[in-house]
Symmetry: C2
Subunit: 425 residues, 2 copies
């Protein structure tokens, strides 16, 4: 017998038929003797509808600026998960499975006071565990908690993943199963490289890089939380036939386990290739090469919430002037340029240049820590294909290259093959 | 300065534009210096959608019997009012009015444990009052509370009226304004009798008879609660232009005040004429005239939830056999007949007869208590029009006659004129 948390997203609970399908997955695990908590999102599209009402309300009420109170946003938007949790509990009861729905304030899931983007601070899992002992499944509304002001808080979009991992930590679950529309984490995007392979295991640190670099399987925050609390997180498909899956102890259903690197026996040097589109490069030419210049550039950008990613500073020839290049999302370019122009005198650059529609391709693997020269393989392979690298950044377990977007697919496939990730078939 | 509760139903909050209109009513009262709590229903149609999901879920999940857990019904259905309360709070804030939404569990509104048809047992209004002192309007989700099991409870359909009156009692409000799609309580249904007049005042007891006899302005339970706690309840139109209404002290906006009869200076003998369609008459012929026969008839009917209204027992000529006639809603006739047939031997009647599509017309007025012969006027007026009376029941402040439905309009107009209720115009 194991203690499991199962999480289902909005697509998996989009209508009553799909909620029934989710209930079949839950029943399978309960029938196998496991203790089960299920975390659900709102029905697909519901959160968007609620958010739009909240955003439109001030304008309809004649306000000049479309601001709204985050507390009220939370009260409105959290209602979506409340509906799904109740319906799933009813579906389970109808199938003979003891079940009870739980809202954030009932458990309680205590969060910070940052309404609409709160962080989970503490969960009391004792009542859920007590109910397990009575044979009851807990159906938990994701994405929500209760703030110190005794009001509903929400965790920000995709927060149900975080709820699931946090609940798993609170009740000391053996595993947190994230049911998604894909059947696991792949070595790269299978839409680009059909030879991509599903990984059986991936380390938390690697998944963190994969998630933040554009592999949209899991929310970054939920992976961070899983890593901190050591929650084994299993990404699997909600479209598999619930009755065809073996849930007995020792069985290994299809999916990818995100776990501690110590739990991965055969560590690959490179685990996967990720990419992020819609990057822009901004270059400041002939910036004075003196202390404090970085602060004069990135301070004002941060103040305006411009999301700066890669930063490359060339070494100046004579020690007086240098070039500074960095990337921002395409959507932030105009804002970044206007910030830079407003601060032109203070920074002291001669020229600002920008290029939109670039792509960042990243090679990820914890094996890099102990292997030298991993990046060289990439540079050689890309050069052979005539792909120009605009910038390079590296960290302990990954490196990224910035290239023109028309080479995205070619670069991903080239690197996938270069590191031996292609499937045999 | 007064302390007011304002209640708006689903039609008044059906979309963002109407919620804005509600906010204008609230702002007008707040600007006039009043302390304001607003109670709102779910957006029109929303509760029906949620209820349908709950009802359909067991069947979709393969259950043979479409039963569902009332606790989960409450969790799902209460979400409708949560959305409206949050949106109205945002609308008010956008118009410069300090406002905060409140759910049942936050106030808290403590109810009985009867999920899906709970009764309000206790409301702690202290925090609302404290917020009034800070200049804050309380926007309260109607229809819901929290049960002793720490779960959301709902009050049954139309429960937002009850919430409004209960909140008014809890915070000792000067008045509870029920905004509806009519501008008050009329002497009779204006669609039948255009000469119907709006009443300036009506006593709680009279309103109770009007409400339960088919005047669909207010939930019966809310009137009962208003009577018990002496809450002055004002029925008024949500369609009036919010800015054209005078809310200053001493002003008398259009509407009907439901109040203690001592607050009504000029008591009319007859206040109004109500009617209820779709009544059926069932007659049991030649029932043994002996003790216990009523129990043998109405016991089994009550056990099957048949809603029996008027009961008329003829006096038997020779003391051995009598006829027993009573009315039930048309929708209960088939069930009632089958119950009676199943108990035929025990009751001992000779024949059961039924007539559908009848109408009960009622004449209501607290003045009847002190005036004799009020009913005689009705009998004479109806006889003059050739309307046959099938049955008569009387109580302290009303009497009802059962007639064929094709005479409904004629009977209502005849009685309206007979008791001098027609407007001068």
């Amino acid at each position: 017998m194991a203690r499991l948390v199962l999480k289902f997203g909005g697509t998996s609970v989009a209508d009553l038929e799909r909620i029934h399908n989710v209930a079949r997955h839950v029943k399978r695990e309960a029938d196998a003797g496991h203790e089960v908590a299920v975390v659900v999102s709102a029905m697909a599209g519901k959160t968007n509808e609620l958010v739009k009402w909240v955003q439109d309300m001030p304008r309809v009420a004649g306000a000049n600026v479309p601001v709204f109170d985050a507390r009220e946003y939370d009260a409105v938007v959290a209602s979506g998960e409340q509906v799904t949790a109740g319906l799933l509990a009813i579906a389970l009861q109808s199938m003979g499975v003891e079940a009870r729905s739980w809202l954030g304030w009932q458990i309680p899931v205590r969060t910070s006071k940052a309404h609409s983007s709160a962080r989970i601070e503490e969960i009391d899992g004792s009542e859920l565990v007590r109910r397990f002992e009575l044979g009851q499944v807990a159906v938990i509304a994701g994405f929500q908690g209760i703030a110190p002001d005794n009001r509903i808080s929400t965790l920000g979009r995709g927060g149900s993943d975080t709820t699931a991992v946090a609940i798993a930590a609170a009740i000391d679950a053996d595993r947190c199963d994230i049911y998604t529309d894909v059947d696991g984490v792949y070595t790269t995007d299978p839409r680009i490289e059909p030879k991509a392979r599903r990984l059986d295991r991936i380390a938390f640190e690697e998944m963190l890089e994969m998630a933040s670099l554009g592999a949209k399987v899991l929310q970054v925050r939920s992976v961070e939380m899983a890593m901190v609390h050591g929650v084994k997180t299993f990404v699997r498909s909600s479209f598999d036939d619930p009755d065809a899956i073996d849930s007995s102890p020792g069985a290994s259903p299809p999916g990818t386990l995100i776990c501690d690197e110590d739990d991965i026996v055969e560590k690959e040097v490179v685990t996967g290739i990720a990419y992020a589109r819609d990057e822009s490069q901004i270059s400041l030419r002939r910036v004075p090469d003196k202390p404090g210049v970085s602060a004069s550039i990135f301070g004002p950008l941060a103040a305006e919430n411009v999301n700066v990613d890669m930063i490359v500073q060339s070494v100046s020839e004579d020690g007086s002037r240098t070039d500074m290049t960095f990337t921002v999302p395409d959507s932030d370019v105009a804002r970044a340029i206007s910030v830079l122009e407003a601060n032109r005198e203070e920074i002291g650059y001669e020229l600002v240049q920008s290029d939109k529609n670039l792509v960042k391709v990243s090679v990820i693997g914890i094996g890099m820590r102990s292997h030298a020269g991993v990046a060289a393989t990439a540079f050689a392979a890309l050069a052979k294909r005539g792909i120009n690298i605009r910038a390079i950044t590296t960290s302990e377990i990954k490196f990224s290259v910035l290239i023109d977007s028309e080479y995205t697919e070619l670069a991903v496939r080239t690197l996938h093959a270069a590191y031996g990730l292609d499937s045999a078939a």
